[in-house]
Symmetry: C2
Subunit: 275 residues, 2 copies
Amino acid sequence: RPSPRCIVAMARTQSYWASVEAEIEAYLKKSIPIRSPETVFEPMHHLTFAAPRTTAAALCVAACELVGGGRDQAMAAAAAIHLMHAAAYTHEHLPLTDRPRPRPGIQHKYDPNIELLTGDGIIPFGLELLARSMDPARTKPDKILRVIVEITRATGSQGMVDGQYQELGLDQLGSEYDIIEYVCRKKEGELHACGAACGAILGGGAEEEIETLRRFGLHAGMVQGIQGKKKAGLMEEKIEKLKELAHKELKSLKGKKTELISSLIEPSVAAVQIS
Amino acid sequence: RPSPRCIVAMARTQSYWASVEAEIEAYLKKSIPIRSPETVFEPMHHLTFAAPRTTAAALCVAACELVGGGRDQAMAAAAAIHLMHAAAYTHEHLPLTDRPRPRPGIQHKYDPNIELLTGDGIIPFGLELLARSMDPARTKPDKILRVIVEITRATGSQGMVDGQYQELGLDQLGSEYDIIEYVCRKKEGELHACGAACGAILGGGAEEEIETLRRFGLHAGMVQGIQGKKKAGLMEEKIEKLKELAHKELKSLKGKKTELISSLIEPSVAAVQIS
């Protein structure tokens, strides 16, 4: 049973992540009004919010605040990360004629054609949002370009798409556990690494802080990914090792209040994320 | 029978467009090496070049040169435009379970899953290429961000994706000719408008030149689009009207050598593009 002091700390971190998630959602709702042509924008709105949240977007905001930036400086990048994730989620659930294994049945509100095209619209929209967010008074355009490169890489052929290939069994890597680890690295790991790095870049972090937070994000994201798999119970050792690596990175960030951000890898917080 | 002088002019414009196309292709080949993981990059390379060329990419380079810019300044944007078009082409030909009309049979070298994921990788890659092309000595980062906004809009939900919706009959607009016109405006028209505007932005054109070239691109692209449809023969009047509008825009560009760029809407050049 946790101590009262511990419960207070848990409540504080939970309310922190909840407030970040709520702000990202509000930003996205404002950015995707249901406008004409409604046949296009209504599914875009729906599928953006139908996808499960990824903590990579919230981590982007938290990393920005950790290095001393303002929450609003990271909001467009966090929204873009969620949108790229939502597009990938939508396309992962498309009924194609050659899906090697059936996906867990999700409710399809739209026909496959609409889901395909909506995903194709969400990807450029996320990057448009980011490119438009330039405010020379606060964030220099070259920083935004750097963040665009980060996000396109993490979500493209070298990142998330590579993970999706492996997940579909389109390539043979090794044992079942090797594949799970590789997929979680490419999908959740690199997306969280990207989120943390983007937040640190936008918040004005030093290069060393950016790289430390990137490594923290990679480990924390892999923990999230593996914990979401059926075989997670058999990979406890791996999960503990990754948590240790993640904590080690945060410890190297001298003089920073890392308590909130470290809560991302604690089960109590993970439970809140999932619920 | 064309006069000898006319034949010389035609040969000159043909060799101009051919050299632009060849440079874009060389740039793309260099940008997409077949590297590890090959299961991801080999299909990306193949599907990038399997898509038919769009003159929107070449128009981007031509518009840049017309306003006084160097060819290399427009190359990344032209490549990005081709990549977005190639991704759309790949996804348009995916065998989904609810395609309302069969697509003309194209050779599928890969399974649908790979084609879906490759398209999903090509979209961010095109924008990554553009974001990485920043060279502060020649092109300011805010110009690149502006071009990213142009390309994401033209190829996203308000642009190409909207055209694909209409083309699939997912929405009812009006008569068959109204639909053809709308689809050609959204797909070929706005992509060419975007190409011309991006080239003019990157080449350092004045705002007025950018908007004139954008309108020229819209009309020229619609001509290309309609000419590619089966019903083109019944839409001659519309085509002539669009050509007239396109020529009118170029005439307003005082003191510019518009001969090469105007050849984009002449049948002799169109034939070269197709062959």
